[in-house]
Symmetry: C3
Subunit: 425 residues, 3 copies
């Protein structure tokens, strides 16, 4: 724990960037082990291939050592070791000599982004394929190509990380992020590194009210598996939750609500963005596209929202090799961290104040209302008086901040002072 809450998120990202993550396999496991070195109490868990979760089945474990396309001169034109996006994730092994025509059926490029290697997956249907830039593709000539994918698809495990930080109560704040994308920075490594920093920050609390459940899972299959094992507990205890993703670039701040749209998570996220950022993009739940699809599914209905920078799908670099380490930076990660930190701080310091006195308290006796009354002299007491006017034993401090259209931290500071004066409890 450092004092200023500055964590080397970008450094962690650089370390993790080269690993070939997918929804299973060594790359994802290595990622979890790396995070475990930072978060000692992180538990790495696994389910077996074939594990059934609701409508889904955990597929075989995928691992890959090498892959390339060689031309007839023996030159490697496409090389997995250059960029792990070159191979379709979950490609079955192959070792073949093919004509360009035959090869073309297994190639993926983006004509509209000729410099970008697309990110392609085929988790649930066996195939193999290579991804390359449109420019690389255009250079391929009629030739006999040697294609090799040295991968394995075998019964094994799907791994995920879980960190529980117990608080005073069993009520939980739930934070989820995903670790299944290979070398891409905003979507997804920004999510795990910010979540890691957040877990460090929370672990440093001297005491805290809520328990924290922080998970690092493969997207979709991982959240579904996690729900299948924990849904009752989650439905009972989760008071607020966030799906942390796309928090590393500097183009925008954005917000994606829960399905309900008015949970504590939604309200706190909007409050912080409104008072700290002012200009941000407010998406609808219809714009969703990550694990809120599971967490907010009918019958699951967890209060899970997302504060993001550029949302997945909304920026051209998304799901290509252009979403790389130069698309994100430490300063943007810190900006996002501050928002999440602020949301946690609000959740932790919110309470339902109760008035200890009937009618207006005599503030002048307590030295905070002027004992001499002259025109305009009481302006600075306005907020304190306004807080007292809404302490009715039902409104939380956060509700009062919203009612007064003031930032929570401003209201909280005054409320602490009112507590010291024994006016509220």
């Amino acid at each position: 724990m450092n004092k200023k809450n500055i964590y080397p998120m970008y450094k962690w990202m650089k370390d993790l960037f080269p690993l070939c993550r997918s929804i299973s396999g060594q790359g994802s496991r290595d990622t979890l082990h790396y995070i475990q070195k930072i978060l000692k109490n992180l538990k790495i868990k696994q389910v077996k291939s074939g594990y059934k979760a609701f409508d889904w089945t955990v597929p075989d474990e995928w691992n890959i050592k090498d892959a390339y396309i060689k031309d007839s001169r023996g030159i490697k034109l496409i090389n997995f070791k250059d960029n792990n996006l070159h191979v379709v994730s979950y490609s079955e092994p192959v070792n073949k000599h093919l004509t360009l025509n035959e090869l073309n059926k297994h190639l993926y490029s983006l004509p509209s982004q000729p410099n970008a290697i697309p990110y392609v997956t085929s988790y649930y249907k066996k195939r193999w394929g290579f991804c390359l830039t449109e420019n690389q593709r255009k250079k391929l000539k009629s030739d006999k190509y040697h294609v090799v994918i040295n991968s394995s698809l075998e019964p094994g495990h799907m791994s995920y990380g879980e960190l529980l930080i117990p608080g005073k109560t069993k009520k939980e704040i739930f934070i989820s992020t995903y670790i299944c994308h290979p070398s891409m920075a905003n979507n997804e490594l920004s999510g795990p590194v910010l979540t890691t920093a957040l877990a460090k920050y929370i672990s440093g609390f001297e005491k805290h009210n809520f328990s924290y459940r922080i998970i690092f899972i493969p997207e979709t299959i991982g959240s579904i598996v996690y729900l299948s094992k924990n849904i009752n507990k989650l439905k009972k205890n989760v008071m607020a939750g966030f799906n942390v993703t796309c928090v590393g670039d500097d183009r925008a701040y954005s917000f994606l609500p829960s399905r309900n749209g008015n949970t504590l998570s939604d309200r706190v996220a909007l409050h912080v963005l409104k008072h700290k950022i002012k200009k941000f993009i407010k998406y609808s739940y219809l714009d969703r596209g990550s694990d809120e699809r599971q967490y907010c599914a009918p019958g699951v209905d967890l209060p899970v929202a997302s504060v993001m920078r550029s949302k997945y799908g909304s920026y051209p670099e998304y799901h290509t090799s252009l979403d790389n380490l130069s698309f994100v930076n430490q300063s943007s990660l810190e900006g996002s961290f501050k928002i999440y930190k602020c949301m946690i701080d609000i959740l932790e310091s919110n309470f339902v104040p109760k008035m200890k006195i009937f009618c207006e308290p005599q503030l002048s006796l307590r030295g905070i209302y002027p004992d001499l009354s002259i025109k305009n002299s009481t302006a600075n007491l306005k907020i304190m008086m306004n807080i007292l006017a809404y302490v009715d034993g039902k409104n939380s401090l956060f509700d009062i901040a919203e009612l007064l259209k003031e930032p929570f931290w401003k209201i909280h500071k005054e409320a602490i002072f009112l507590q010291k004066l024994k006016l509220i409890k």
Copy 2:
């Protein structure tokens, strides 16, 4: 039943136009018999003059054979046989020789619309009178006029039609239209002919969920009498209802809500207008003026709304001889029919879907989510995914369409597909 749901509404209207309808009498009975030829199961019912319904009493039956104003040369200047609007509805019989001054007390014209014969009624006070254009009136000179109204006002009956189309459930859709106006087209014949077409359309369903109660009644006294006999049944069973009137011209679409304003009828009507018509006039319940006054009265409170073209009272031709067969046309009637058809279709095909799977289903295994994931490849699945995100066992398909701001039919098509995949039931 025809396949394309095109019904000769304008032709029916032309046939019915000359009949001298009123709140009772042979003209109304003939109208009901004409409709009965199209709707075989229509029951023609009657109540006796003197029948008490809440605050009202059914008046004597009125019939008329002939009426005219002759000048001293014996020329018929005003002739009931030219246009049945020439006689004040419910005029008592008269056979007199009068000066112009004496006659003038019994004449009604519209100085602001000099070519229009106004429509005038005097159901509950005995009087006689003639309606004529302002231009006709100006030509009347000092003379001795012979006025004859060969009418009768005697104890008899008030007639109305009722068609019950039983469905799978006892829950009802209620459709009411009125048959008490003489030769006028938009208000009112457009209502009965569209309702007749709608009844034909519903009768042609192979199966349907709701029962349909379709009534053809005199306005006000008819709906009050009908309520006095059926209110308990209606309050128990009616899920949605419509008062069909003014659906024949091509100037506008408009909507008049129920008193509650947010019933299923209101929501479905607005949904269809919003997605099919886009630009339409949205009236307030304070603009009401037809039988919703009874159906939505305090204590009655049926969910009855109206989709109209030009609303009664809002167009200059209203309640005059200018509201004639050239003011309406088959194409406008078909446009209105399509809206009502679409509302019925929504009511019939709406249901509360239930998810059969917890969390997101694995769509790729079902061949509808790509088994290969590459950027931008999933856009076409968005609606299906969004539907699944809101299937919580409480939202109806219609609710989901409103939540997703999509037309019901688009959502319904995808929902049927999801049913086939056994993802929802």
Copy 3:
């Protein structure tokens, strides 16, 4: 009681203006006695110094006979007899010879308003001081000054007035105004004189539904003391309440809501301002500053709102000698009186009408709906019909006026007519 409800409010104010009111003492008592001459049934009550009310203690009684600052030539530069604002309210007695430097520590002026004597109080800390205009202050030269305050601060009483006007029910309308400011006109004498007029007006009712509780108290300490003695009764019976202050100038109308913001008091006040004044300032409860701080405190929660002209704190003359008899006038007081009168009238004449007839009544039989129906002939009946459409046994007449966006008095007039027709009760 006069017929036109014109009360000499400005004359009363002129009589009361010279008295040196404070939160206790002879000036306040004399004020109450003056009002008692107008309101015979006003009870003058008192609590002893030292009386504990919630967080507060009633201070010693303060009385003052004379006060001045004399220069070395014996000329009175500052004289309490010129203007009682010259002495800090609750100044302890003093009789000293001081240099200008020493004197300056006890002088209060407003550099930004060089012609205004500020109003300064020091109820809960013993000190003495003089208030003067900045211009007067600038003229003070180095000299030996003789300062005399001939005041007393001794155990005594705090006085207040209470008038109960019993009505048919025990449910109360609560009206509070304050009598603790020395010679200032808008804040505060406009409050007591308008409240006196209102009490006269209510006492003149032949019969009335509500009981009226009207109090004249010192601000803050007075309302807290009053609450400490009456809170249970008030919480049980008060249906609406108003804090009457700042109702004498002609610059604006304004509204300050109760903490709840949607009580009957708030709704009636907004209704009257909307329909009678149209343009007025709508403050938030966060702009509060008078006894609603006590009446609307959490746990007290009385429905107390304020209709004002220029709100305390919002006009430059506030709490200075410029808030004098030329800042207010009889005509502005009458304008404010009319608003309060109208609110009382609405509260008194509001009721929950009940329909005696099911469905629409047959108005033509009662001579109010034309028995001859011709285009456009029913426009004048629209409001009556609209009232009947909302008489459901739950809506009060006031609710109906709000629903129809019509002034209450218009709706009430028609409702009385409907009662005479025995259509509603």
